[in-house]
Symmetry: none
Subunit: 251 residues, 2 copies
């Protein structure tokens, strides 16, 4: 047997010596002993310790780990699901805490670094718009979109919002009613969608439209936006857009 002393094992596992002694004390990772009472770690012990550390990295307590290691698989699945739930609420809590901290930072009067906004904001818009242009201005869609939206005011944006909301409502109504995405009604909504983009932003071909549809399902934020409106709407709208493109270009 090629066993190693505790310091080497600790280095190998990237934990402290104290930690290994503690695990030994509570019987979580038992160590062998040599003639003079020194702990010795072999492959088995290291393997077991690594498993323990893996559970620990998931945030389980040592007591929970003891149960996990002795229990059966169904028990594990349940524990994992519970733990995932706990982690999520923990993430929520920390996220809110970070919000509060950021809120506090703003309120502090002496965080007055940089800009006096009045002029700042307008310049800022231009600044980043220009940056964006330099980086991605070569795509025609962006150029045209930027050109048109430049002249839009509050009234126009309100119209756009209202129209978008209307289209999304129409689509989610169809989805809820169980109408197939290949149904004419669904494809009509998709066509409305395309025309809306065409009107407000840039010439939207069927090819461009299906490319957008790809984004709707593959980009998480899009999915989320549509998920907020109705469950499964992103997939539904994508399917309708594709069906519509097929109908228009081939049928």
């Amino acid at each position: 047997m090629d066993t190693i002393p505790i310091a080497e094992a600790a280095a190998e596992l990237d934990v402290s010596v104290r930690t290994l002694r503690y695990y030994d004390a509570i019987g979580l990772v038992a160590a062998q002993r040599d003639g003079s009472g020194y702990r010795r770690y072999g492959d088995g012990e290291l393997h077991r310790a690594r498993a323990v550390l893996q559970w620990r990295a998931m945030g389980f307590t040592l007591e929970e780990i003891r149960l996990l290691e002795s229990g059966d698989t169904s028990h594990r699945a349940a524990a994992l699901r519970r733990r995932a739930q706990e982690l999520r609420s923990e993430l929520d809590r920390l996220g809110s805490a970070l919000d509060s901290v950021n809120g506090m930072l703003e309120q502090l009067p002496e965080t007055t670094q940089a800009g006096i906004q009045k002029e700042g904001e307008a310049d800022m818009d231009n600044e980043y718009a220009e940056e964006a242009y330099e980086r991605w201005g070569n795509t025609d869609a962006y150029k045209e979109s930027a050109r048109r939206t430049a002249s839009y005011g509050e009234t126009e944006w309100n119209s756009i919002r209202a129209e978008t909301a209307r289209i999304e409502r129409a689509a989610s109504d169809l989805l809820r009613e169980g109408v197939s995405a290949e149904d004419e009604a669904a494809m009509d909504v998709a066509e409305d969608h395309r025309l809306s983009i065409d009107r407000w932003f840039y010439p939207c071909s069927y090819e461009m439209h299906t490319a957008l549809a790809t984004t709707y399902v593959s980009d998480p934020l899009f999915r989320q936006h549509y998920e907020d409106v109705a469950v499964g709407l992103a997939d539904y709208l994508s399917a309708a857009i594709t069906a519509n493109a097929l109908r228009m270009t081939q049928g």
Copy 2:
């Protein structure tokens, strides 16, 4: 003076009686005493306690709070920034933990929970999810995203919504304050954004992230979404994401 006994103060502040006694003992929130040694809380004490609880909600230790309450404003700003940094790394750690848990759950052979869900809705989801898969399933991002989101329920989507809202707020706050998109704070938010996608949807490399940023500025609906949150946010976030990717891959 209209003072109230400890139980009422505890109810008012939504903490335990023990907590108030502890705060009294360590001199953090000192209580008045009546003739027979009972603690009494007036407006001043309640106000002070609320301030303490606010700091506590941000994750400061009681010792730190003692310093914050006695220190000057510049000290506070520094402490808040440090705390924000700590919270971010804490969020990272928990996010990784959640990743590991989810990874474990998948590996388990008997994850046979599947659908007992009302059939109708589930079938609908599956139907269009499968269609989407056939059309765009070749992209890894979509595959991974679909696989993960399949198991998400209301709680998960709520978490995602909360996290996304938090990040967007953080970004728009910075934009409003006039912080440059190349500033560390802005890049930190961009990194948060990337990690959020990484956690909830699919492995998001810096390259993938910059590709997403392109979409944010060039796609009208994205622009509109961000325009609703804050004027110029799409461009700002894109710039921050690009800067962050540069920092991480080159710096």
